[in-house]
Amino acid sequence: MTRGKAVEVFNVTKRFGDYLALDQVSFTIHENEFFTLLGPSGCGKTTLLRMIAGFETPSEGAISLFGTEIATLPPHKRHVNTVFQSYALFPHMTLEQNIAFGLENLGWDKARRQARVAEMLEMVHMTPFARRRPAQLSGGQRQRIALARALAPEPKVLLLDEPLSALDLKLRQAMRDELRELQRMTGITFIFVTHDQDEALDMSDRICVLGKGQIQQIGTPSEIYEEPENRFVADFIGETNFLEAEVIAVEGATARVRTAFGFEITTFQKGLTGPGRATLSLRPEKIGMEDQAAGNLLTGTVSAKNYMGGYTHYTVDTPAGVLRVSRRNAVSQAQSYEIGREVRLGFRDDSARVLAQ
């Protein structure tokens, strides 16, 4: 399937005084895609979003929207809309007036405006609240109106700046599904900024992991989690154990390495070219314990245990270092291992990843 290019970011650099917020960033977002910019705070993701919206100008580089260069256009001349983290609903206007605001500025006539406002209110299930003011709404309702207001002018791209961060946990989960549904329904390209990896993994078609002002990896949620490009991504997304390894041979996408446990394994690698030192990344849920131990086997002693409800987290001391292992509590009286007990662990070659150091 070939899709059009909605947004192209080409070699964009942004400096604030001496501080380099973004360093030579390039990527392409496709039409009708739910694209997420994910990273820790200060990674430049909000700056990137604000440059696409027009609130910041790149120090260098180009940004195009459906083939038109927009990097220097003021925000009111770009056909993109933003859902603000604070929602920024105009407090002196009713919900209707808020939604109609963009349409008025675009010069829509009254009848068309009214029809569109009604349609938008209907879409977010807020029709009975049309004449209310933002102060009279709950957090979730404000969120919906912010979405309706931003979608009303039929933007080519919708920008969402951590829109769920102000909501409580339960509501956040529900809004994820609503947002995803809204994106499918409207077919508009969504660019979503978040620091919450669960949100990113759950909602996105593709995720762009940003760190230290640079792109660390772009890929589907499973690619990002299962095939991290480097240590930063493996560390930032989910939890993992990093172990030292000695590369024996690299053969294309795979490498043979000697692990700190003494045995050798062959598995997928990223960023290696030949023999030398490397890092082995091993996710806690991919290590089997006792009855579930399979593949490469080793033993260790349980030194800490954290019961988390759905699963239990064990910290196991092995001769090669400390490993964190998670075990699902699948049955009600799941086997539990006390601190001090010696346990058998095991993992398969292909559940580990070899990364450059």
Partner: protein
């Protein structure tokens, strides 16, 4: 909980506070009280009368001074508010501005310098450049010292208002001036109003500058009252003062009520 163990309670502080408020309002009450004195001597009470109010309202010199004061105050308020609004917009919305601190100090300069020095300085300048129109001299000088009073509430309101609203307006295709007219201005209106009220009262009350620049034809209300005091205290003076007190209190209450309501809504 008994007050005995309330650690926040300080014996005597309440008494001081009551005495303080009594002291704060007693002089004003005395002025108002004696304005209804029938006697010619201010402090010798001999009966209730409103005749001094009647005398005040027929006093042409007083009405002339009131007219001068209003003309100057209204014009200076408009000028000061516009100047302050424009400066506040720039100073609160451009954090990276060069000379930002310096510009803020310049706008607030009349608050930092002794008024008598500014008044003398204006007098010397105006007489040097041959600027002799009395009313125009007052308007220019008042506009300058009213500006910081208009500026502070406007700036506070703008600083307290998230820049997100303006960005949202521009994101929804409003050109900068449309964004200002339809979003920023309505949201800071209580601040603008409070600033304008403050500027108006400050101009109406001014004595030092108005007295220094007075050319004879442009006596303002406080300058006129001063000349009356110099001639001796009279109940008519109390009646005039009472009217002025009432006007000030009404304007102050109005301004405070409007900004308080806006705060609650915001």
């Amino acid at each position: 909980m008994s007050t005995q163990h309330d650690v926040r309670h300080y014996p005597g502080a309440g008494l001081v506070t009551w005495a303080f408020f009594l002291w704060l309002y007693a002089p004003i009450a005395v002025v108002i009280w004696f304005s209804f004195n029938e006697n010619r001597l201010v402090s010798v009470w001999s009966g209730f009368s409103t005749k001094w109010y009647a005398a005040a309202l027929e006093n042409d010199a007083l009405l002339g001074a009131l007219r001068t004061s209003l003309t100057v105050a209204v014009t200076a308020t408009v000028v000061a508010t516009l100047v302050a609004l424009s400066a506040a917009m720039v100073l609160t919305r451009h954090a990276d501005l060069k000379f930002r601190r310096l510009s803020e100090t310049v706008v607030n300069l009349p608050l930092l310098l002794p008024e008598i020095v500014i008044a003398v300085a204006s007098l010397i300048l105006f007489s040097q450049i041959g600027f002799t129109n009395g009313l125009a001299r007052l308007i220019v000088a008042h506009s300058a010292f009213c500006t910081p009073f208009a500026f502070l509430p406007i700036r506070a309101r703008l600083a307290g208002m998230s820049a997100d609203y303006e960005e949202a307006a521009q994101d929804l295709y409003a050109a900068p001036f449309t964004a200002f007219r339809r979003v920023t201005f309505p949201l800071i209106l209580p601040g603008v109003f409070a600033g304008a009220m403050l500027a108006f009262v400050i101009s109406m009350d001014d004595f030092i500058t108005s007295n220094m620049l007075n050319t004879g034809g442009t006596t303002t209300l406080p300058v006129y009252i001063f000349s009356l005091i110099k001639k001796g205290t009279t109940p008519e003076l109390n009646a005039i003062s009472t009217l002025l007190i009432l006007a000030s209190l009404i304007i102050a209450t109005l301004a405070l009520a409007i900004s308080a309501r806006a705060m609650r809504r915001g």
